[in-house]
């Protein structure tokens, strides 16, 4: 039973990172009907941007700031202007395929210009332990969990309690009507891309010290976050958050109490079950389609 606390904390910490990445999926889908299959690689790249800055001699804190700014530029602005805008006019499917190509390109570029080998990455959260309910719990797990939750709360507050958030939601719900009532739709869509870039940069900062910086590290993360977004509800931010936390915990519990060998299958089974009984996801809303 005491083991369960360790598993829950570690699972929630990993799940919180899945949630950050999954939220990006839902935000982009809601505002611009974009499924970004390079989302995992979007998490991988910021760590390498920060490492590159550090290799140039900059301290870690400066590398974080520059890494986040570069991520906003490349993964937010650049992604929208150079790939999404030109491709979206051809439909969602060509764009989705283009993001798959982007994922491959990003992986190969990092492998070519940085290294195929894993690199260590400093932790923003201090390494150590705290005692909770008589158990030693990793400070790093708690720190990752706390930071991720703080960002999710901040994002939820932005969406629900600010004028910009309301305009973003209006854009997501019906861009045509939003435009009529004076919402700067294009600006809101760009803001969504920038928020996604910030979220992946933060996820990268939190997960890379544990998973190590490697060109292929986005594969697992992107897949887990995609499943989390569908399980939670692809059209709801709170669904993506719930889905992320759920996948993180289920994955850890399955590895501990079922089998490590079949752990990769458990989220997929969960996904199939959810889709069968609740196609819109746990917290998603059904979308009507007019014919």
């Amino acid at each position: 039973m005491s083991n369960l606390l360790d598993l829950l904390v570690a699972g929630l910490a990993t799940g919180a990172i899945y949630a950050l990445v999954a939220v990006g999926f839902t935000l982009l889908w809601q505002t611009s009907q974009t499924i970004n299959f390079a989302q995992g690689e979007f998490v991988m790249l910021p760590a390498f941007l920060m490492l590159a800055v550090m290799h140039a001699g900059a301290p870690f804190w400066l590398a974080i700031i520059l890494g986040i700014l570069l991520s906003l530029l490349l993964l937010g602005l650049g992604f929208k202007l150079l790939l999404v805008d030109p491709m979206l006019r051809h439909g969602v499917l060509p764009l989705a395929i283009a993001t798959m190509a982007l994922a491959i390109g990003m992986k190969e570029a990092v492998k070519q210009f940085f290294s195929a080998e894993a690199s260590p990455f400093p932790s923003i959260v201090p390494v150590g332990d705290v005692w909770i309910l008589g158990r030693v719990v990793s400070l790093q797990s708690l720190g990752v969990l706390a930071l991720a939750i703080a960002v999710v709360i901040g994002l939820t507050a932005l969406l629900n309690r600010t004028s910009i958030g309301h305009q973003m939601q209006a854009t997501a719900q019906n861009p045509t009507v939003a435009r009529i009532i004076g919402v700067p739709v294009e600006r809101m869509i760009l803001l969504t891309f920038l928020i996604n870039a910030f979220l992946v940069a933060l996820a990268s900062l939190l997960i890379t010290p544990i998973y190590l910086a490697k060109f292929s590290s986005g594969e697992v993360l992107g897949q887990a976050a995609f499943i989390a977004a569908i399980v939670g509800g692809f059209n709801q931010v709170r669904g993506a958050i719930a889905g992320g936390l759920l996948i993180g915990v289920v994955d850890n519990l399955a590895a501990a109490y079922v089998s490590t060998q079949y752990r990769a299958a458990v989220p997929l089974i969960l996904l199939i079950v959810i889709i069968l009984f609740r196609p819109q996801g746990l917290l998603g809303r059904p979308e009507e389609r007019t014919v």
Partner: protein
């Protein structure tokens, strides 16, 4: 004008004659894990090979002929490795080098044997040299040599009565797990937990929780380098206090670099280490660091040695003969005094297994410290 043409022809003739006298380059083919999960293994191996070839060629080559190597990437995937080895063998190399992963060696060694080409590889799974393949040679100890030493250390030095085993679910990991489990049985050491993990696994939280729940006297970790680093970090995160013991892949230089402080205290048996108290190994380390600007792990040594195995065997034969190469290497002892590139006296038996000194090391403040030198058996 005519004299110019004559001079040119003369020069070309002289150059061709010189090249003929020196002989065409000796072609070697390397297939290694240059990307994927084993990128650390493959890139160290490749760099070791390139360093040795550069040295040998700078001194005139082997029997007056330069060595030339082509590198191919197996992507750490046995299927890709097999295709790359087939491609390499089609070009009729003198010797095939690599791969480093046991699973890849297992699927490629029949191809090299069928072609009659000697394969000098980095795999450590016990079964590789047990099947009677006369063309396969190791650059490091097989598990049948190293695991008994690890088990003896756990029993004699750590006095452990129960051990948790964590192994990677591939040929390398399963081979090591099978051998060490048998060794533990000889000492009546109980296996408190037997955990298989996946190659490339990122999250070890659940595995470490299981280890904590089993409360063993020691933990035997037998994973690839990157995964070793990840589990060391997780073991530290979850404050596992039991001694961590492994083989070369737990205490390698890359693991120490990746795991940072979490590697401190890890100990294990290593067949090769750049921290060995051997002058020739120290000299190798200096040359490698000067060329590549990082300290290699044991795979760098393995690649380097593979080339000097080629050199020593060819010079022993006195000719470049791919068909007789394997016969010559079987039973051959190469002395470091006469061939410094081999670094330590080494003997190859009839199965292609290796005999030389080994080391027991511990990671202390981010560095490998050799605690014990284990002598060559024969």
């Amino acid at each position: 004008m005519r004299s110019g043409i004559f001079a040119g022809l003369l020069l070309a003739t002289v150059s061709a004659a010189t090249a003929f006298a020196q002989g065409a380059p000796i072609k070697l083919a390397d297939v290694a894990e240059l990307s994927g999960g084993g990128a650390t293994v493959g890139n160290n191996w490749k760099n070791g090979i390139d360093l040795a070839i550069e040295e040998i060629n700078a001194k005139g080559g082997v029997l007056g002929r330069k060595l030339e190597v082509t590198h191919a990437d197996s992507q750490s995937n046995p299927g890709v490795a097999r295709a790359q080895v087939q491609k390499a063998l089609d070009n009729e190399p003198y010797v095939l080098l690599g791969p480093g992963y046991s699973g890849s060696v297992k699927v490629t060694s029949p191809l090299a044997a069928e072609a009659g080409i000697t394969q000098i590889m980095g795999g450590e799974a016990a079964e590789l040299t047990q099947g009677g393949n006369k063309f396969l040679f190791r650059t490091s100890f097989g598990q049948q040599s190293s695991m008994p030493k690890v088990a003896k250390y756990i029993n004699d030095e750590l006095k452990a009565k129960s051990v948790a085993i964590v192994w990677v679910n591939n040929d390398f990991g399963k081979g090591g797990r099978d051998v060490i489990t048998k060794e533990f049985a000889k000492y009546n050491i109980k296996v408190a937990a037997d955990l298989s993990t996946e190659a490339g696994q990122a999250d070890f939280a659940a595995d470490v929780s299981k280890i904590k729940a089993a409360a063993p006297d020691a933990v035997f970790v037998y994973l690839n380098e990157e995964e070793s680093a990840r589990i060391l970090k997780e073991l530290k995160r979850q404050a596992v206090a039991a001694p961590l013991v492994g083989e070369t892949t737990l205490v390698g230089q890359k693991v120490v670099e990746l795991a940072g402080d979490a590697a401190n205290g890890a100990r294990g048996h290593v067949g090769l280490t750049t921290d060995a108290p051997v002058d020739l190994v120290k000299a190798f380390r200096e040359k490698f660091v000067k060329k590549y600007n990082y300290v290699p792990d044991h795979n760098g040594l393995k690649g380097y040695l593979a080339i000097y195995m080629v050199k020593a065997t060819t010079e022993k034969m006195g000719k470049v003969d791919a068909k007789k190469f394997a016969d010559t290497l079987h039973g051959l002892t190469i002395k470091a005094a006469s061939e410094p590139g081999i670094l330590m006296d080494v003997t190859f038996d009839e199965k292609g297994d290796i005999d030389r000194q080994g080391f027991l090391v511990e990671i202390v403040e981010g560095k490998q410290v050799v605690k014990q030198v284990l002598p060559k058996l024969n």
